[in-house]
């Protein structure tokens, strides 16, 4: 969910190319004398003030780092920052990370992190545990969805303000739907129906359903079967009959050829498979709307809720929070900025800009009114499962995903047993 190809031109340019060599030698001399460690000793260290490219930040400019889903998101955030800067008089620089977790981790380790940044749930616990994040969220007054607050609470402390959220739903290609002789009454509401329509939609050169080989998509089936990653107490609970049933179902569809991973149809992700016509249905989140509008404007589609499984409805929700670095030189301004960014007005602006759902309940009705065609997504909020906020969860999910790539020829029970083992290690 990140992009590198196009972002607004960097506002700061490096001004000292020629001085670099001279500086190098000066720094070498300095280094040899053992001066100037980059490792920050706790909160108030030297920070990135006098170091290289970060050199201009000393005067209170905020560095903001995001992982962007595309031009639209980058644009919206840029505008928001500009508006805030005009209002507050504090400069804010936006950078778009190509690889957000890596850039954040490296920044934390180097003691020169950005001031404000996106934090995904899967990395949240790790950053909170090692003290990288400033727990400021209690200073923000907003009625966040309780499930989102839950996601950013570590050891009973609510750390950072949820930015917005998305859920997964079923996206259907209207043209393909009609060509297969299906009508609005045929939108699948059960697994059996899903299999049936997927089969009907599968033609030469078009697969019925496509979704990424990852828990972040296949987990919806686990939820519908009544399973999940953890139980109510937050303990690992992967190796369950419900989850086996879900994976077995997915495996059957893959084997039947009515469902396929995007890479098998020459696409990078579900939205691309769907937009390019290689798949007639996909399971994706709100972001797919913007992507389709940009990349495949001619595709006619409908978003419907995911079908019910044996245990009823189920989907997954994803969210980011606005993290503030514990090492930030300018925490007050950073928190001020976040307060602005999670305000009702900004949340709606982001929703319009790149199709996310506001993290506060106060604008829920406004949002539903404005985006009736996306009703399926907000409906999902009722029953969605989130990423468990457990330290080390991202490695476990990463491992799960790696095994899911081989699901077509793998053994669901074996996969779940091994994931259970890994998850137990971090969530006993």
């Amino acid at each position: 969910m990140s992009t590198t190809t196009s972002r607004p031109r960097s506002t700061r340019r490096v001004r000292r190319p020629l001085a670099a060599v001279t500086a190098s030698f000066a720094a070498l001399a300095l280094a040899a004398c053992g001066g100037g460690s980059g490792f920050d000793e706790g909160g108030g260290g030297s920070g990135d003030g006098e170091e290289g490219a970060g050199g201009e930040t000393g005067g209170g400019t905020l560095e903001v780092l995001i992982g962007s889903s595309g031009d639209a998101e980058t644009q919206s955030v840029t505008e928001a920052l500009e508006a805030w800067s005009a209002e507050s008089g504090t400069e804010a620089n936006l950078s778009v990370a190509a690889d957000l977790p890596q850039q954040l981790s490296q920044g934390f380790a180097a003691g020169s992190p950005p001031d404000v940044f996106y934090v995904g749930v899967d990395h949240f616990a790790g950053y909170a545990a090692n003290g990288s994040l400033e727990p400021y969220a209690d200073q923000i007054e907003a009625d966040f969805f309780p499930a989102l607050v839950e996601s950013f609470t570590y050891e009973d402390t609510f750390y950072c303000a949820p930015k917005d959220f998305s859920t997964l739903a079923l996206v259907v290609n209207n043209t393909a739907w009609q060509e297969a002789g299906l009508t609005e009454d045929d939108y699948p509401t059960t697994w059996e129906e899903l299999s049936t329509v997927a089969e009907q939609l599968t033609t030469d050169g078009q697969v019925g359903l496509s979704f990424g080989p990852e828990w972040q998509r296949i987990g919806t089936f686990m939820a519908q079967a009544g399973g999940g990653l953890v139980d109510e107490n937050g303990s690992a609970n992967v190796d369950t009959p419900e989850n086996v049933e879900a994976l077995t179902y997915v495996q059957e569809m893959l084997a039947a050829g009515t469902a396929a991973y995007p890479s098998e149809v020459g696409a990078g992700w579900g939205g691309e498979a769907f937009g390019s016509g290689a798949a007639a249905m996909t399971i994706e989140g709100n972001w797919v709307i913007g992507a389709l509008t940009n990349d495949f404007p001619d595709v006619d589609y409908t978003v419907v809720p995911l079908p019910e499984g044996p245990a009823g409805q189920g989907t997954l929700q994803f969210t980011n929070c606005w993290g503030v670095a514990a090492d930030s030189q300018n925490k007050e301004a950073a928190i001020e900025l976040v307060r602005f960014l999670v305000s009702d007005e900004q949340q709606m602006a982001f929703a319009e800009g790149f199709g996310v759902m506001p993290s506060v309940e106060s604008v829920r009705d406004r949002w539903t009114e404005q985006f009736p065609e996306q009703a399926a997504f907000i409906e999902g909020a009722e029953y969605a499962q989130g990423v468990p906020p457990v330290e080390g969860i991202s490695d476990v999910i990463g491992d799960f995903n790696a095994q899911l790539e081989g699901l077509a020829s793998g053994d669901p029970q074996q996969i779940l047993t091994s994931v259970q083992g890994s998850l137990e290690a971090v969530a006993p």
Partner: protein, 300 residues
Amino acid sequence: MTAVAEAPARAGDAGGRAAGRRSPTTRRLVTTSFVYALLAALAVVYIFPFLISISTSFKSNADAAANPLSLVPATFTTEAYERLFLNSDFPLWFQNSVIVTLAVTVGRVLFDSLAGYALARLPFRGRGVVFAGLVAVMAVPSVVLLIPKFLVINTLGIYDSYSGLIIPLLADAAGIFIMKNFFESVPASVEEAARIDGAGTFRVFWSVVLPMARPALVTIVILSFQGSWNELSHFIVASQSQELFNLTKGVAQLSSGALSQGTQYPLKLGAAVIMTIPVAVLFFVFQRRIMNASAGAVKG
């Protein structure tokens, strides 16, 4: 052995004579055509990826996906390049690569030649130990140093700066060997004459030795340029700001990170083509020397 020592090509006539004496002409013809055919086929395999990259970079996304094999774009477009140069940080990456590469090259030429000269010509106590140390240090695989380098760069306070990108790359044991070997291969008489005239060691080095060492210096320039232009892992661990991205780091992230952006092969291949050009130019200009340099350097 070294970059500069060009092995004299073995007299071609001897081989020709021998072959003529050996066997009937027809048989030789068959063998020769077979060898040519084999070589030509291999050459196609080696060159084709580069040709296809160039042609694909001028295709549209759809064309690239539909006709991955065709060497002529169905619709010729410079869209990929426009996007790279006008609507991305690519020019910045390029600029950074140039800055770092030039600085590293200049630095290495200077330090390698100084150190190589000292090891070859200046008797000082501890020279043997230093030399042994260099040999040991050269054996450390660079990838193993990824994490450690970050720690050092950060401790020294040069993380995320041009200094951090450049200075660690100046450490180059192999270059010292090339220079040392070269200096050992030239007679000392000229320098001695200069020294008798009363010139100091550094003066001798600067105005007598260095000009003489041009062939070896060119080798160092080539290796340093190529090495730092193509370097990736060091830049990953030494910086984080977007302003310090260079070509390899930028293109690598473009290649692996752009999930929601679709495949975009013309764009990626365009970036790959552009980043190959400087090295390719260097390669074709100094072709003969590079061939020898590389053989020498690897053997080092």
